[in-house]
């Protein structure tokens, strides 16, 4: 099919996404898949900002963004979706406005609440890819459990101080481990120190968040390989990456719930 025969793209859209479409790995089909996709992004802070902005710029058709926080002055050092004029505003409203400025074609559903249990199951079920940009372990485990139950791919990122972590749990595939296989839920014992205590290097969340956006787009367009069964860790002091392998835990209680 030639470009001229494609009904889903206006001339303006073809131009907007031309640098993607030129990539053989993306092409028209990949860009169409991106445009038809629905991505759930949980957390609109340091990681969620670049994730939402890159997914919007790249033409993801629909995004659901979740966060119950409001924009504070301490956020502006790194949370690039929010601006000085947004102080006191809900982060999802601020981010939705930024997404609209970047790409008004993107449909955004902004949920100003912490996701949990049944609403989370429904949100995950409606998404093609889930991106975990949250800032706490209970939500990370809840998202993982929902993705496992709904067989949805989960792109997970985390960042504190100068340390970053990234992995993809492609729970559509039986051999993929889940987050619980890597770090079992400890009932709230874990504490790596929040950003408010230890700080976080501003561009670190940009690096990890941009990689999360890349992995989400790769999943949507079917490009390359995802780091499934690999945990990528970054020490930004030395800019040294490690790639650590892990497998599905046959005793994982979350995986026992997978379809």
């Amino acid at each position: 099919m030639s470009v001229c025969e494609l009904p889903d793209f206006s001339d303006e859209s073809l131009l907007r996404y031309s640098r993607h479409i030129l990539l053989p790995e993306v092409g028209i089909e990949g860009q169409q898949a991106i445009g038809a996709a629905h991505v759930l992004v949980v957390g609109m802070g340091g990681l969620g900002s670049p994730v939402a902005m890159y997914l919007a710029a790249a033409g993801v058709g629909r995004m659901t963004i979740c966060d119950d926080d409001t924009v504070e002055l301490t956020n502006l050092q790194r949370q690039i979706a929010h601006h000085q004029a947004d102080l006191g505003r809900l982060k999802v409203e601020s981010a939705a406005a930024e997404i609209a400025r970047l790409n008004p074609e993107v449909q955004v559903e902004a949920l100003a609440r912490r996701v949990s249990d049944e609403p989370l199951q429904a949100l995950v079920a409606a998404a093609d890819v889930v991106v975990d940009c949250c800032d706490n372990f209970p939500t990370r485990h809840a998202l993982n459990a929902a993705c496992a139950r709904m067989a949805k791919p989960l792109v997970s990122g985390a960042a504190v101080r100068f340390d970053g972590q990234l992995s993809v749990f492609d729970l559509r595939h039986a051999e993929s481990p889940c987050y619980h296989c890597l770090f079992p839920d400890d009932g709230g014992e874990a504490n790596d120190g929040p950003c408010a205590t230890f700080g976080v290097f501003a561009p670190l969340v940009g690096i990890i968040g941009s990689m999360q956006a890349a992995e989400a787009l790769k999943l949507l367009a079917g490009i390359g390989e995802s780091p499934v069964g690999r945990l990528l860790t970054l020490d930004a002091r030395s800019m040294q990456w490690r790639s650590l392998k892990f497998k599905r835990d046959p005793d994982c209680p979350v995986c026992l719930q997978r379809p």
Partner: protein, 89 residues
């Protein structure tokens, strides 16, 4: 001889650099480090001397099964890496 290294997040209580350990298991290697850095034990192990669930140990770049990782024999060239989950976003 095996070596052991800790994620930077644990280095407030652990060696800042990779160290050689005369040990034939992860447990033996950890105990050698705990002897020199007693405060580290509580960050890595729980009160039952099990690995904390948000801590993971990798040997030569691969995670071993959680129940086996401490006691299984390790090769002389083992590179042990101890890290923990991060939650910040």
């Amino acid at each position: 001889m095996p070596t052991i290294a800790f994620t930077h997040h644990l280095q407030r209580h652990a060696p800042a650099h990779t160290v050689a350990v005369d040990a034939n298991s992860v447990a033996a290697a950890l105990n050698l480090v705990f002897a020199a850095y007693p405060a580290l034990r509580g960050y890595v192990m729980d009160e039952h001397s099990h690995l904390r669930r948000h801590v993971a140990v990798f040997v030569n770049g691969a995670m071993l099964r959680r129940g086996d990782v401490l006691s299984n024999p390790i090769p002389p060239d083992a590179e042990i890496y101890v890290m923990q989950a991060l939650s910040g976003g």
